[in-house]
């Protein structure tokens, strides 16, 4: 497993195999083999573009939902977490330390859609004790990418 290769792909999944090989000083074949193996092993799980949805009409709305859950004997939080993760609206599910158990990020067309989803699907689950829904108002940074524009190279045009 090549950690440095993973870090580069995490930075920019669109680097070509040739560029990755050059940067890491290994062969292109090695890059291909590593990516293939790490994908097979479930280390690389997918590739996505980072999109600022606010820049298009009818964007998605998102909410972060905190869930308090009663863990089940023997399987803990796994069953309910997997059940929640299976919904298409759910972007991510994390088991948390602290005052609540599961952090669920949900994406939908409208606020009402999210409210309905929480009320009908999440809150009604037998093991879910309580929910707290926080709507996302604005995103400033997403997966290391800054979403605000106008950030300029602040370096002076000195001749050095």
């Amino acid at each position: 497993m090549n950690i440095e290769l993973l870090k580069l792909l995490y930075r920019n999944a669109k680097y070509t195999e040739e560029e990755l090989a050059t940067m890491l000083d290994i062969s292109e074949d090695e890059v291909k083999a590593e990516i293939k193996q790490m994908t097979k092993d479930g280390i690389i799980c997918g590739y996505k573009a980072v999109i600022d949805w606010e820049k298009i009409d009818n964007p998605y709305v998102s909410a972060i939902i905190e869930l308090n859950v009663v863990p089940k004997a023997g399987i803990g939080f796994e069953e309910v977490a997997e059940q929640i993760a299976s919904y298409d609206q759910v972007e991510s599910v994390y088991l948390m330390s602290g005052v609540y158990d599961l952090n669920v990020v949900v994406r939908a067309k409208t606020l009402q859609d999210i409210a309905r989803f929480v009320a009908r699907e999440l809150a009604t689950m037998e093991t879910v004790n309580s929910t707290a829904t926080h709507f996302v108002l604005r995103r400033y940074k997403e997966l290391d990418s800054k979403l605000f524009i106008g950030e300029k190279d602040g370096r002076g045009q000195l001749f050095i």
């Binding site: 920019n12 940067m23 370096r155 045009q157 001749f159 050095i160």
Partner: protein, 391 residues
């Protein structure tokens, strides 16, 4: 009316303004320019270093320091040079903290050069040495390093340039703009040539952390016979991404350093106090940050070198600093024509090699102090430009 032409110092009047200024001004008026021209790290100063500066201000450290710089900064500079390059200086008498490496070079040249003395300067190199030598009344003697020698200063070239008036040799390695470095055997040859002479050396090692040879950076002063004749200049700008803090240092024999300190004392008083406190932190705690930045520069270096060779602009592997210096001779254009046309037709700014001396003709300097995405986009445009020239 005062005739300003007659009041000005003649030597100053004769210094040519940097020709590149005009070029930068044009680039600045275009908003879609992608630049590979800036010779300044794109990384921020490590946060902990910035915090150390802020903390010093909060604690009211807002006075002058001693002329030579903070005691513990000079001690840490010595620790750093010992740890990294196996050279050691007495913090009490052999180390001076300066306003960037630039002030160190200026003060060292002024302390050594008397009117008429010859100062040997290898070129292509950073543009400050020639005017600084001239301002001290010295006579710059230019050695043009050659591509076939990997832009190193050779024994033969140095021998040929030395006269009985030679006072000082500038060693600008790792080199801006060529990326050349002097390795152990190269420096041993220089040492052989200088043996038995009184010729002093100012070794500008500001890019020492950015050395990509297996052996790593070799400090000139660490080579046999060089310690007693070398003034080592280094600083925080490149290694720690601290350009705006304006902090560097000079180290050398105490007989010379005490004289350099007089110049510093009367011209500058002391280097900025806040920067000195931040620099103490940098030297003590930032080896990992430096390593991280160097690793990233190294990747970009490989990417950009391969990029130019793939385009058909032959590019030697730069082994130091953060510049590539590809040859553009195959295009038939002069360095300036190439840069002007690349800027106006494809909106990419790079610097003509001639900005660093006549020997830079046929080359361009390309900085890789930019993100890989930025570099790849620029390479793409340069490729289109060069392909267009062939048609």
């Amino acid at each position: 009316m005062i005739d300003y032409g007659s009041v000005l110092n003649n030597t100053v009047k004769e210094i040519k303004p940097s020709g590149i200024r005009k070029f930068f001004d044009i680039a600045a008026t275009m908003d879609d320019v992608i630049s590979l021209s800036v010779g300044e790290p794109d990384f921020q100063t490590p946060w902990e270093v910035r915090k150390a500066g802020i903390t010093s201000l909060e604690r009211g450290k807002t006075k002058y320091t001693s002329n030579r710089g903070l005691d513990n900064l000079r001690e840490e500079i010595n620790n750093y040079l010992t740890r990294k390059y196996n050279i050691s200086y007495d913090p009490e008498s052999e180390i001076l903290v300066t306003v960037g490496g630039s002030e160190a070079i200026d003060a060292a040249v002024r302390a050594i050069v008397s009117p008429g003395d010859e100062v040997i300067i290898p070129q292509p190199s950073y543009v400050c040495y020639e005017p600084i030598a001239a301002l001290a009344g010295g006579k710059p003697v230019i050695i043009e390093t050659k591509a076939q020698d990997d832009f190193k200063l050779t024994k033969k070239q140095l021998q040929d340039a030395i006269t009985d008036k030679t006072k000082l040799l500038i060693l600008p390695f790792p080199n801006n703009p060529t990326g050349a470095v002097m390795e152990q055997k190269d420096l041993e040859e220089i040492s052989d040539v200088l043996k038995g002479t009184n010729i002093m050396v100012i070794s500008d090692e500001i890019y020492s952390e950015l050395t990509f040879t297996n052996g790593g950076h070799i400090a000139t002063a660490s080579v046999k016979g060089m310690y007693e004749r070398t003034i080592t200049v280094n600083g925080f700008s490149k290694a720690f991404s601290m350009t705006g803090w304006r902090l560097g240092y000079a180290c050398g024999p105490k007989e010379i350093m005490s004289q350099i300190t007089k110049i510093h004392q009367f011209a500058i008083m002391c280097a900025p106090t806040t920067s000195q406190y931040a620099a103490v932190w940098a030297l003590k705690h930032c080896d990992e940050d430096v390593e991280h930045m160097t690793k990233e520069y190294n990747r970009r270096r490989r990417l950009i070198t391969k990029g130019f060779n793939d385009i058909g602009l032959s590019c030697r592997e730069p082994l130091g600093a953060f510049y590539a210096f590809p040859s553009i001779k195959s295009t038939g254009l002069s360095s300036e024509e190439f840069c002007e046309r690349l800027l106006s037709e494809y909106r990419v700014a790079v610097v003509p090699g001639t900005a660093f001396g006549k020997g830079g003709e046929g080359f361009i300097r390309v900085s890789y102090c930019y993100s890989t995405e930025h570099i790849l986009e620029a390479l793409d445009r340069i490729k289109k430009f060069v392909e267009g020239l062939k048609k």
